[in-house]
Symmetry: C3
Subunit: 361 residues, 3 copies
């Protein structure tokens, strides 16, 4: 077999490091409120180890997991009277990083060099959020899950992890074409394709793709949700810094809003906090035994692909994704993240960018 003259050059193994945008001036979910009890909790954001604990008033504190004294991880310590005590010499810290106590020391404990690096926190709707840039004061408030407290909706929350960047996980979560192939049979089916119109709209802090003329999805999920068929209104959205939102209206009675809040624990490991709000014709207790295993199986397939993709990104770098117009949101998400990383969002009042294309689903 004589191959065509090769086009891409052979990359040197391990040479090209992937460069993931790091949107640091942003709120990310660190954990659920329930996860943070009276013990310390260890997490990471942008590969920085962070220790969480509840102060005397119950409010969450988030400190870099490093005692300023001898660099020992504070997560080896314990909470004493609402202060975090290092496990080595017992130095104690407030949630704002101030040193409150140095055992055996006759002087004043607090001093500039003896403070911990503290991350601003918020607790709302059952989640603990961290402002990822301790060097800048928080701007704005964390994302609000708009249907979470709406009594007409049933809400399910799940925490998952993927070995992929926020960008890769968001693109995967909001990508339509791969579902027919990777999740073929479970979600959409490969045969009997219909041509639909897709409208991409990008604003300064978000990008959305609306799918027009989409029939009720074939396959298991579609049949359960809407046995009688019906018109589908379907939009996929990304909101800075890391919210992937999928919204389905199927017929009149079925409304599903899936919000995945993505936390960059490392460049290529993402915590995914999924909040699924459902208003449906059928009672949730009837759908859930089918939908939940299917959703977890789908996510398992995605996790495997994302991990393999990450391996190759580490090896070959990220340059050279060969997108088609079907990659409706991925390139826009990357653009928004890079702008946010540099702090150079576009004018909120400018007319949105729009583009249309067709695809077979």
């Amino acid at each position: 077999m004589t191959p065509a003259p090769p086009r891409p050059e052979l990359p040197e193994a391990g040479e090209a490091a992937p460069i993931q945008p790091r949107v640091r001036r942003a709120w990310y979910i660190a954990c659920t409120s329930a996860e943070l009890g009276q013990d310390v909790l260890k997490t990471e954001i942008f590969a920085q180890p962070i220790v969480l604990f509840r102060g005397g008033d119950g409010a969450p504190g988030a400190l870099l997991d490093r005692c300023p004294h001898r660099s020992v991880p504070l997560s080896l310590g314990r909470v004493v009277d609402g202060q975090l005590a290092c496990g080595y010499h017992g130095w104690r810290f407030e949630g704002d990083g101030r040193c409150a106590h140095v055992p055996a020391f006759l002087g004043t404990p607090d001093a500039p060099g003896r403070r911990c690096l503290a991350f601003p926190t918020r607790e709302q709707q059952g989640f603990v959020w961290i402002w990822a840039d301790p060097g800048s004061p928080p701007v704005g408030e964390p994302f609000f899950f708009r249907l979470m407290d709406d009594s007409r909706y049933q809400v399910i929350t799940r925490v998952l992890h993927a070995e992929g960047s926020v960008h890769a996980v968001a693109e995967n979560a909001l990508d339509v074409p791969h579902t027919a192939f990777l999740h073929g049979g479970l979600f959409r089916v490969d045969a009997a394709r219909n041509q639909i119109r897709c409208v991409v709209t990008r604003r300064h802090d978000r990008v959305e793709c609306a799918y027009i003329g989409e029939p009720r999805p074939e396959g298991l999920v579609g049949r359960i949700l809407s046995p009688s068929g019906g018109v589908v209104t379907h939009s996929d959205r990304f909101l800075l810094p890391g919210i992937a939102e999928v919204e389905y209206q199927i017929g009149d009675e079925n409304h599903i809003l899936v919000d995945a809040a993505l936390t960059p624990e490392r460049d290529h490991r993402t915590r995914l906090t999924a909040v699924v709000a459902v208003r449906t014709r059928m009672p949730l207790w009837l759908i859930r035994p089918f939908a939940e295993p299917a959703a977890l199986r789908i996510f398992g397939q995605d996790q495997r692909v994302l991990a393999a993709q990450t391996d190759n990104l580490r090896r070959f770098g990220e340059a050279g994704f060969a997108s088609t117009e079907l990659d409706a949101l991925g390139p826009h998400i990357l653009r928004l993240m890079r702008q946010a990383e540099r702090g150079e969002l576009e004018d909120p009042d400018a007319a949105p960018y729009q583009r249309e294309f067709s695809m077979r689903v």
Copy 2:
């Protein structure tokens, strides 16, 4: 104890990286024909992941294991109608790298940016060969095992792996002095040494050492092969880019030709495809039960030494091998590989380099 003044300087741990020659413009065995069935097969060459599959005509295709779309390994995919389909979005590729199908896409699938990097392939004598430099057209044809199809010979093929470079494995395979020590008792014995003449001949693409006056090897292997003794004609050869050949004629009736085709999967991991052709006084079914376990035991000892040598080469670098004239071929192999790496072989018509020395075996 007062040591003599030290001569070599203490190398800094981890400082010196070994620099293995990489002869890229060359054919290497990727797998046996039997290994490549209807499924995809994953391999590496110079640490580049490569996916192999059979196209519609059954001919082997070899692509860089990276889909140009989203960088996912193609080896997670499957073969559909003689095309390799990526497991993420179902893009399909021919063996020459062209994109043949993009599911849901209304446009033309093939485009320069959507092609895979393809490696030329050959299939001959039951082996699939890859041309390791996809950026240059193949020059010449793969090595031909000259006795493999000769009906007077019985042929055994074995695939083995070693944690060592092509150079280290070739030198080991063609090195006489270590056999007495490392494999002492199994192959040669340490006592009762004879002095023999050795003649090294190097041409532009090969180097050979002929051993003159060698008695029938003592030890197990020799006694089985030629119980009556007899004159031995023994030559060890290296042929670019990575064939290590050992040839023995013992008495009139025994002829053994061992060809080890070496594939650089990584700088320090080599696939060794051994083709052993034997014409012997004794039937092979009688020798094999003794010879095969002995050969595997010998190779196991070599594997252990090669892996330990590789550890030290990684730590200390390769500079400073202290060769004597007994290292008949190793330095020449390195010289040939470096010349081939730079594409600067010596004149094929020049008189060969020759050198003689003596050793006790």
Copy 3:
């Protein structure tokens, strides 16, 4: 919670490499005399692999664990007639590094390029010491354990390992404040604190802290040693290059001298050879069943903290230890080690540096 403006900048993960001083021109314990029998013994110093063996006269030889011929670790070999034979080709070396034998070779085995890098050795008091810089002749003799051969003392020797640098292990071993917290209840107790005076004295090659007015330690160890109470004389000392010494006199009859000889196997792995000499009111057989498990438990707690500290030092670097005056010896130990690393000790005849402070114990 609104944190105070952060002071320290967020370090980039993995950016700052810890820079441990490496005092190479020094004697370190490689092993006990008992550990080095007739077989080869493998160890490391400053991450250099070293192979130890006993020569024909029984004296220990220490060679870089790399055969000059083909870089194979000599520790895969064996001792033959008081020479170390490489396991690959059987080259043999003396303890001073000279090549004594090359099998099959007709020439003279020894030659400058065929010598091993040899480390000077000493054997005394049951320990094998290595001079860590093979490029310079030894200066001075190894540390002498002054009470080891004193018949009035009972001596216990223990070899332990910690995942921490010599500096971190020495500071930990000589640090008073952490014992109340980390080992609380076992050694000292957190309540009932007394204020004591501490006097730090630093000379060119050592630094000591004397604790004045210290009551008999509360807690288990103190009660066993000196049931009747009594005045305590307590000094902690560090002696270059790596001896941490703790000395207690409790009442008239109890004298404990703990010498920990620290060997830098790697920048962050330390071999600790503890020699505990005890003269006590109570027979050792009565104390030992209590003291030994307690000491091992204390050391286990220290090992865990040291390993976690090392993780953070690797991540964040060592800059920015926030010391108070309670860190009586650590900063001085670092200063002495850096001076010794550069070979620039202060004038031995200069007046010592002195400083006093108070603490609660």
